[in-house]
């Protein structure tokens, strides 16, 4: 990993920014899902960050929640039980899948954060549900503002939406850089950027990373690959596996991960809570919500197809966490319905990444040009 990315990664790993915030008296809230509307937390002067654990073995967590649940959930639980999140003022999750609901409940039960809120997601996008969702977000804002004793203000909400939109635009620029003929960002570097952006205020990330696209634009880019791939999956954040993918002759040119494109795609266009509600329920990389006439898996497939087309991906690498309920239900449809080769990697955590090398190399051999 090149130098600037290392700095970003250390922000995630060492929690350097978080320490700064806490030391300066800012209140930090952990989120368990990319669908938590962070703009609301941000508008109240608090710092939203995404909760991650980074443990190979999750023995403490396994004594509280089943060991077959996804790596993400077990790691959040493990980190929580070890006290890694003691600095948090509260946690927020969303009803986007069973794991996230019950992780929230278990976390509340065992770790007892000072504040907690579960955002109730409608799974449909019709007028009644959009209206409900806007009111649900308002309810969340009320609860949080009363906990923080900070008055909610619409103008501040739209300012926060602006900050997040700028961040999303910047991520879009990074996305274009990795999609070039000679990609200018490696997969692990891209993920390092994403993870750091999830561990700090967006305005701080933007001011740190703003000049990166220009810097990278001057770079020649990488041509040491034989296959351009789209990464599909959910709450994935293992850099070693990403490196292995690229070492095997693939270049990651796009993704739909909850920790990456599933998080930053889509801007807030409208005003107030309704605008926020429309952005979050309209996230087509998100797996559960869809319009009244379509299934969410169809919307996800459309999102993937669009990414593949825009970024000239030749194949898909599907990261299937064995405990992920979303992957478990949707993977077969991606394999069946997308008409480019798909490599499905069954991920069993803790990962012993080397076991995947041969399969990746064989995949590149079979489908890579040159």
């Amino acid at each position: 990993m090149r130098e600037p990315f290392k700095i970003f990664y250390s922000i995630f790993q060492e929690k350097t920014k978080l320490r700064e915030y806490v030391d300066s008296g800012r209140r930090v809230f952990g989120t368990m899902c990319n669908n938590v509307p962070e703009e609301i937390i941000h508008s109240l002067g608090a710092v939203p960050i995404r909760m991650f654990g980074n443990y190979g073995n999750t023995n403490l967590a396994n004594s509280k929640i089943p060991s077959w649940t996804c790596n993400y959930a077990r790691n959040v639980m493990e980190a929580g039980l070890r006290g890694d999140f003691d600095f948090l003022e509260g946690v927020v999750s969303a009803t986007t899948d069973d794991t996230k609901i019950h992780l929230f409940s278990a976390y509340r039960f065992y770790i007892k954060p000072r504040f907690s809120y579960l955002v109730q997601f409608p799974y449909v996008r019709d007028e009644v549900s959009e209206e409900f969702f806007a009111r649900e977000l308002e309810r969340f804002a009320k609860h949080l503002s009363s906990h923080l004793s900070v008055e909610f203000n619409e103008d501040r909400l739209s300012a926060s939406a602006g900050v997040y939109n700028t961040y999303r635009e910047l991520c879009g620029e990074f996305e274009s850089l990795r999609a070039e003929e000679k990609p200018k960002i490696r997969a692990d570097e891209f993920m390092a950027l994403m993870l750091s952006s999830l561990s700090m205020l967006k305005e701080d990330f933007v001011s740190m990373a703003d000049n990166l696209p220009e810097m990278l634009g001057d770079h020649d880019g990488f041509s040491d690959y034989r296959l351009r791939v789209h990464l599909s999956g959910t709450d994935f954040y293992n850099l070693t596996l990403l490196r292995l993918i690229e070492e095997s002759g693939m270049a990651v040119v796009s993704d739909d991960l909850c920790t990456s494109a599933g998080y930053f795609t889509g801007k807030v266009e409208g005003d107030g809570f309704r605008g926020i509600a429309e952005r979050y329920s309209g996230c087509t990389a998100c797996v559960m919500t869809s319009s009244n006439t379509e299934l969410s898996v169809e919307e996800r497939l459309r999102f993937i197809r669009k990414k593949i087309k825009e970024n000239n991906a030749d194949a898909i690498v599907l990261l299937k966490d064995r405990g992920c309920e979303v992957c478990g239900h949707q993977c077969p449809w991606i394999v069946r319905e997308i008409d480019i080769p798909v490599l499905v990697l069954d991920l069993d955590f803790p990962l012993s990444v080397e076991q995947y090398r041969t399969r990746m190399e064989a995949f590149v051999e079979a489908h890579g040009g040159g």
Partner: protein, 409 residues
Amino acid sequence: MENNWNPLGYKNLYRELFKKHLNRQNELLKNNRPVGWFFSFHPSELIYIFDVVSAFPEQYSAYCAARGSSVDLIDTSISSGYGHFLCDYFKTTIGMIEAPEKATPPLMPKPDFIISSRALCVAHHEMAEVFARYYGIPKYTVNYPYWTTDSLKNPDELTKEAEWADELYVEYTVERLRGLVDFMAEVAGEADEEKFREVFRKSEKTSELLIKILNLMMSKPTPGSQREISDLVFIAFFVLGSDYALEFCENAYEVIRERVKKGEGVSEEKHRLLTFGIVPWHSLKIYQYCESMGANFPVNLYVNASVHKADSSNPYMSMVRRSMHFTNSSYEMLDGVVKTARKADIDGALLLENTGCRITSMIIRPLAERLREDLGVQSLILEAPQCDPRVMPMERAKTQIDAFLESLA
């Protein structure tokens, strides 16, 4: 082991009930009425109001598990690429769709529409999507809230009547339910209002009887076996609102009342256990084994979760109330469960971790903790997926049960 473990004598009543249910289904199929697939906690009354054929993947999968075909069906689903750690009901149903020749007949009829909901698990919604895509059929979704301490106060563990529920959530759910009624009218034709009231009146009476039966189960000695009681979920979930459900409950209530009056128990009662977790349909003998050793089950929280007090004067609220069970509430809301356990005077708990089901499996340890902390009651946790007997071989389960009962003695 005695095969006819049927102390309450409900077996004949169930037989009669299933017969009537199947006759109704066949009659409607003959008349080309639309077929809907539904999930537990769906307002089953609508099935009778709109005269549609109903099929429940959960119920069908349980049937396959009891008949021994679920293992093959689960394997079919996994070899098609679906996840291993998903709900057994999903995997079994996928097996039926992809390899019908391996499934136990009669298979579920092909659906014309599907109702997805989240009154229990997102898995219902996730699987409804997959099934809808297989068949290319319309789907309607009702999204109930997941209740937390800031949205629901003091729900009764059995009736689900609560002191207070957040208006925003209730209103939205009611709106979706009204939409569901409109959707049903579109697929099945308008229903008349009197019928609507009539079905809910039946549902109300039936629900009251179910609650009474479950209350009587807490008598000393425990009057019935879980082999008979656990099937009550079929009534509470799937056929509530039908004539035959009401008829069953009237008879079943009389039987258990008589038995309690006479002080007759399942066996010579040495222990009173609470149980929770979806019943392992392939190994119902597990209850019988415990009961034959004097460890009876006055409380099955899974069965308790399935019932609610229906209210014909307020049918929509009644439909929302179905979702106010402890498995759809955050884990600090276990007070109602502890109260029930205290009332039943239990001295141990047998908790079943249903692999692949995040709902039952994740709440089990907090439940065991509350029972231990509040009542000093120990729990035995067994990993037991509801349709896959390979994970919990009976012999191993028996050894663990023996050791547990010994520790209670």
